[in-house]
């Protein structure tokens, strides 16, 4: 366990945390304001990734691909809101869960029909491909640093949007009292649509960012969606600040657990036992964390104020 490896894995953890935050931000906004549970949020992550792969292929440029894929994913989100989700707001959580589960099945199949069963990959531009030398003799992938940077900028942008702009004011007001905002003459339905689309675009952006590292494939949204749900539960549903902190914590714990847990276990048990328990325990760690948080603080670590 060298120092360089620890730094590298910490950065990987932060990078995973950033991706989780991009998903969790949309989920938590949609939940906080519309009291709506969206299991299909991971589908936007997948759709974004496939859009980016296709557009990058057409334009021959990854950045241009992302620039085209973002509005496309936003449009998909808005269409989904207008067609299916809008009628569900008045229903209970069970209906939300079931209907959006139906959307997940639908989107996985739709992507299979449009793009085929094979995954799509994106080749990075030469500038982003490769690694960079950091101080203390550490080398790290440039692109992963770009993911971290892009995610932090989005987080900052979201913070400004929610706390410093008129639409952000409406979002915050909507979260604390929907009916009152509607009564004051705000077109609340339009606001919902915009927020839902924004959340979809954020999730899609996470999918676009991750595609050059892994690839766009069917079902990629589900696993990360569940981790994103864990994030918003830990952070306190409805709180963007909570989602950010919880996403970074979750990303770090998951990555560090997978890299170092078996080494740590070796110090307390035999190597056979450690090899068996390591992977099992590390893949369960974030769920254990969530159970622990809920046990001691059922409302999450940072429940939104005034709700």
């Amino acid at each position: 366990m060298t120092f360089a490896l620890v730094v590298e894995q910490t950065l990987n953890g932060v990078q995973l945390g950033i991706l989780l935050f991009l998903l969790a931000a949309g989920l938590t906004l949609v939940f906080g304001i519309m009291d709506f549970v969206n299991l299909a949020h991971g589908s936007f992550y997948m759709v974004g990734a496939f859009f980016a792969a296709t557009f990058a292929q057409w334009t021959g440029n990854f950045v241009a691909g992302v620039a085209l894929a973002l509005p496309a994913t936003l449009a998909v989100g808005i269409v989904v809101e207008l067609v299916a989700v809008r009628t569900l707001y008045a229903r209970d959580h069970l209906d939300h869960v079931l209907a959006t589960f139906g959307l997940v099945l639908f989107f996985n199949e739709l992507v299979r029909l449009v793009w085929g069963p094979e995954g799509r990959s994106i080749r990075l531009p030469v500038v982003l491909d490769g690694s960079v030398d950091l101080p203390l003799g550490i080398t790290y992938s440039i692109y992963r640093l770009v993911i971290i940077g892009a995610g932090l900028m989005v987080a900052l942008g979201l913070y400004i949007l929610v706390n410093r702009t008129r639409i952000g004011m409406l979002i915050r007001a909507g979260a604390s009292n929907r009916t009152m905002v509607g009564a004051l003459g705000i077109n609340i339905k339009f606001l919902f649509t915009i927020i839902f689309g924004l959340g979809a675009a954020l999730a899609g952006f996470a999918g676009m960012l991750v595609t050059p590292v892994t690839q766009a494939e069917i079902g990629m949204g589900e696993q990360i969606l569940i981790v994103a749900l864990v994030v918003i539960v830990i952070g306190g549903i409805g709180s963007i600040r909570g989602a950010f902190i919880a996403a970074i914590i979750t990303g770090l714990i998951d990555t560090m657990g997978r890299s170092f847990l078996d080494v740590l276990l070796l110090t307390v048990m035999s190597s056979n036992a450690a090899e068996a328990a390591g992977p099992a325990l590390s893949s369960m760690m974030i769920y254990i964390l969530m159970a622990a948080v809920l046990f001691f603080r059922p409302q999450g670590l940072f429940p939104p104020r005034g709700v």
Binding site: L94, L98, L103, A276, A280, M284, Y287, A291
Partner: protein, 321 residues
């Protein structure tokens, strides 16, 4: 309930159960012996859906991790079989005890939360157990664990041979009826009143001096064990268990079966399981990508058919109410 049997719902329900009961004869007679397998699956999922309905339909606990018990029971059977223990008198109680214990731990934590948090934390526990299966290299990891021999039930000279398809079919049928009867007795008992009461107004139940937590936890454990029965049967029927058995879409499908059949109705979940599996069988025969139909179908059921099959069979006055 005087006209329960002569009502439309009574007739259809009876007819469905008559078809199920006669399938080992009817299937081969129609030249479709394959239907026996399909209906065995319908009954196994029926038991699972009936167990979920106890907490979801009557208790209002939306558990999104119920498939975990299918997997836990299946893996217990598989691991014991792998270790050379094929005795069903040992396998089955151990499998059910594992499910009960898991439900006790999961329920004790989850039931501290409510609403959306409850859905998500049950989902997370389901995934946690899923990953436990994925990371167990010793037992096949993602590829799953084949089960080479079915549970053996030998008592003295007599043997219940589960390898016999027809016999297995009727064992499953009896267990299905038993689970429905168990839910019927539970729901109409004093205990069941508390469970149903805590669904409609928990604060009020607490105010009249009932500690609903314990009652709900007990129901949660009963449902887990009952779903374990389905898991035990599934492992014996498929002779295979894999992490996919307990992946979250399975839990979602189980909820859908309950809603499709009619949430909080006695026979509804079985009807739901039947419609779900037969429709999915039919669709996968005529097209490759059945989910392009199935997904929107699910959404339409949620939007327009809240009572499910059971609700559609009810009288007009009932539907209006």
């Amino acid at each position: 309930m005087r006209n329960a049997i002569t009502s439309r719902r009574g007739i259809v329900t009876l007819a469905v159960f008559a078809v199920i009961a006669s399938m080992p004869v009817l299937g081969p007679a129609l030249g479709q012996p394959f239907y026996v397998d399909v209906f065995t699956r319908v009954m196994i999922w029926g038991i699972a859906a009936v167990s979920l309905n106890l907490i979801l339909g009557y208790g209002g606990m939306i558990s999104f991790g119920h498939a975990a018990y299918l997997g836990l029971a299946g893996y217990t059977i598989g691991i014991m079989s792998d270790a050379g223990i094929d005795n069903g008198f040992l396998q089955w109680p151990v499998a059910l005890a594992v499910c009960g214990l898991a439900a006790l731990v999961i329920g004790a934590i989850c039931l501290r939360t409510r609403g959306l948090y409850f859905i998500m934390i049950t989902l997370a526990f389901g995934q946690m157990i899923f990953f436990l299966g994925v990371s167990s290299d010793r037992y096949g990891s993602n590829d799953g664990l084949p089960i080479y021999s079915r549970s053996e039930f030998k008592l003295g000279g007599a043997e219940l041979d589960l390898g016999n398809g027809t016999l297995f079919y009727y064992v499953t049928f009896v267990l299905l009826l038993a689970s429905i009867y168990a839910v019927y007795r539970i729901v109409n008992s004093r205990f069941g009143m508390v469970i149903r009461g805590s669904k409609s107004n928990e604060a009020r139940m607490n105010a009249i001096g009932v500690s609903t937590y314990r009652y709900k936890l007990t129901a949660f454990v009963i449902a887990g064990v009952m779903c374990g029965v389905a898991g035990v049967l599934m492992a014996n029927f498929e002779r295979f268990v894999s992490p996919d058995t307990m992946d979250w879409p399975q839990s979602g499908e189980m909820i859908f079966m309950v809603v499709l059949g009619g949430i909080g109705s006695l026979f509804g979940p079985v009807l739901g399981a039947a419609v779900f599996l037969l429709l999915s069988e039919f669709l996968s025969n005529i097209m490759e990508s059945k989910n392009i139909i199935f997904g929107p179908f699910l959404i339409l059921v949620v939007l327009f058919a809240r009572g499910g099959v059971n609700g559609l069979l009810g009288s007009r006055a009932e539907r209006r109410g």
